[in-house]
Amino acid sequence: MEQRNITSRLAGRDAVTGETPPDVRFIRVPSIAERKLGADYVAPMRLDPRVLDQMQSTIRTLETKYAEALSAQISMLQLLVEPSAKGDTEARSRLYSLSHDMRGLAGTFGFPLVGRFADSLCRYIEHCDDEDWRDGSVLRFHVDAIRDAIDNPGTDPAITMETLNALERLIKATRGNRKMAG
């Protein structure tokens, strides 16, 4: 492993212009391929389409299972809205956790619209205060949009964008109204 005490462009803008403090070292760490294969490694490493095909086939295999699980999760979301609005913290936490999972996974398994609405819902919940939860209307609209996205997967993207914009406007309006009232 090479060790040096000179500045490196890889260390960033500040490093090329300033003095390197004496207790900072820059180290070139060999790649994992170099370490594992030694002299047998010939860079640059080539992508192997067979590996990618295999990975994509794995995702397709998991898709059916996920579609079933997703449908059950959306039903659960619908059930969780009312108790969340009534102050049930366990229901709130579960609702967020489910929408967080949907945000992360739905797009991978061919449900990008579900992923986008779940993302909007997560971002809303991350800034929710108790009044937002008790109002519940924004939560309900999101959950309805998620349900609609799985029931009507061929929806025109323009309608989806309009729905997302409408949800955004609704969030601003409900929070704006509360500010005015408060």
């Binding site: 490196s8 890889l10 260390a11 960033g12 803008r13 500040d14 490093a15 207790d23 900072v24 070292r25 820059f26 180290i27 070139r28 760490v29 060999p30 790649s31 994992i32 391929a33 170099e34 594992k36 294969l37 002299a39 047998d40 490694y41 010939v42 860079a43 640059p44 490493m45 080539r46 992508l47 192997d48 067979r50 590996v51 990618l52 295999q54 990975m55 994509q56 086939s57 794995t58 995702i59 295999t61 998991l62 996920y66 699980a69 967080h100 999972d101 945000r103 992360g104 996974l105 739905a106 797009g107 991978t108 990008p112 992923g115 993302d119 997560c122």
Partner: protein, 166 residues
Amino acid sequence: MSNEPTRADADFFRRLKVLVVEDSAEMQRLLTALLASMGIGHVVVALDGERGLAAFHSECPDIIITDGAMTPMDGFEMTRRIRASGAGLAANPDVPILMISGHAGRENVAYARDQGVTDYLVKPLSAEMLYEAIVATVSRPVHFVETPDYRGPSPRRTLDARRAGN
């Protein structure tokens, strides 16, 4: 000896041990299945950052793939502790850490970089994105910064998040 570039295939991946730190059962299933289909020889799963840290010390993985948001310890704190464990004593202080997160904002990516994350992948994950990130991680030498309390990729470098389709 052949001068053909090395292929990122199952023969190579069989030699690797990957630690997956993830609290979502669905995401764990997806990641372990994808890594298995690449041919990765050994996948270890930990449910949160605290267990991930313990597995890092006991298993000496070649690569860590971690979620960002987890409790009680998240992936950022786990990364910070691994980089702070620095030279010498740690299991593999040079381990690359790939973070997969639903948070795509610049500030999240910058925060991950500052803790010592090597690469940042934004959900939803695609097969291409994961494969390309792992190949980039294993094939390129890295330039680390070492101070008394940090050893890892430079927190001052530019880190762009990977997204499906780019």
